[in-house]
């Protein structure tokens, strides 16, 4: 399953998520439980999220991903061959691609990517 994370048709990278890929979308809502026990739910909105590990990222792609994370770049995200394109930001608290693969030659990297729609 290959995905494309990109700014435009000329600037992007292919991403191969590992098996921990998930889409933990969130709702923004409040729940009010009244005295009778009935519940009122007010949903204000929702947004999409994607989380997965990536491995064997070369130094060039690593630099691009981490740069997008650092600058909160507006990105696009789609599964290759799909017509569904989502607008996303990289939402990691810390640098996403941050661990080198053994033997630590610093040519191949791994990390966790967290994406959120905006």
């Amino acid at each position: 399953m290959t995905y494309r994370l990109f700014v435009d048709s000329n600037n992007g990278i292919d991403v191969e998520p590992e098996y921990d890929y998930k889409e933990p979308d969130e709702k923004i809502e409040n729940r009010h439980r009244v005295r009778s026990g009935e519940e009122y739910v007010y949903k204000w909105g929702e947004f999409n999220r994607w989380e997965f590990s990536v491995e064997y990222i070369n130094s060039s792609d690593r630099a691009i991903i981490n740069s997008w994370w650092s600058s909160n770049t507006d990105l696009l995200w789609m599964e290759e061959g799909s017509s569904v394109v989502s607008s996303v930001h990289i939402t990691n608290k810390t640098k996403p691609v941050d661990k080198p693969h053994k033997p630590y030659s610093l040519t191949l990297w791994k990390g966790v990517l967290k994406l959120g729609s905006y």
């Binding site: 009244v34 519940e39 007010y42």
Partner: protein
Amino acid sequence: MPARDVTSWFQDQALSKTLEPVRKFTIGSSDYSGFVMKWPKFRRTSNDIRPKNLTIQLANHNQDLNFFITDKTLLTTSYTIEMGFTHPTSGDELITMFSGKGQTVKYRDNKIDITIVDKFKQLSDRVIGSSDVPVEYLNSNYLPSDIAWWLVTSYGGYDTTTSTANIDIDWDAFAEWASIFSEGSVFVEARFDGQRVNEALRKLGRQTSSNILIQDDKLTFFRWTVADSNTTAFDSSNIKDVELEVVVDDVVNKQFVFADYAPSSDFFQISVVDQDSSSVNSFGIKEHVEEDKNVWHVNTVSALDLAQRRTQVNGEPFNRLKIESGLSGIQRFIGETVTVVDSHLALNEGYRITGMEVDMNVGQINFMADRSQYFGAFTLDVSTLDGPDVLT
């Protein structure tokens, strides 16, 4: 006191258990809802004529809101915060929750806090007369409503249109309020030597047992009359919690009113007193004095009417309620009457809404309601001066 003018579909939505409410924030005519990070809380009450403000937090990570830094006059444009629901075919039906002008902007990190202040601010920024050149309404019988109109239009700068087209004043409410004084021959005189317009209004409201507040971005005047039918019930199906408070210090059972003030001699030529003996026997004497050198009644009848209103409303401590609810009462106005049902407190009776605390971020509205403003209003309209009839 009418409710907000909303469709029956809107009312059904408000009672729905699964809602997707819409919140809208506009600066001038531009929609900035998508920038709001935290929707505001605000509070209104029926007897507080002071400017109310709230702060709304917006995202500015793309510097979209930097325009205030270069053009500060944009702060004084109009700001509106609305809430409502989206009809599947006819679009959004929204009600204005708060509106006003910008007061401050604060840029911090990638956020911006905008503080908005309501229409009372304009009244609190302006004064009436001075100690050298006071503004006087003397030597004639003035209706309180006439003086109120002159204060807010001539000195407060509000719209002078005498129709529902008035953009600052709820004309229908004002006309109804004014008719109470003309029909009851309630007359006052006034003298202002530097008071702010909202302070003068507060004094006028006090002397006439009136409530003056802003709703739907318009200045509204009213004095409680016979209770409207209670169309809304707050019960266990929409109350999250309810507090009931009784405060003995609410009691006023001996009211003095000084009237017919003569500024030249600094002397009140009339004084009246009304006492609720039953209340005095129960709670001891609780006296209150109404002596105002800015607004005063001109005759004994008007002054006694005020004294009697006070002792009848405040002769006994009344139930004060704070009702926590979701959005089921979103369309309610301060001043409306509601039925409150609570089995634990054995309540099943009418109350008048006297205040609202709205938390737009989570969709919670707390209503303040009290029984004096309901039952008392009804009692007041028993015309004790000329008979036991009930005025309608």
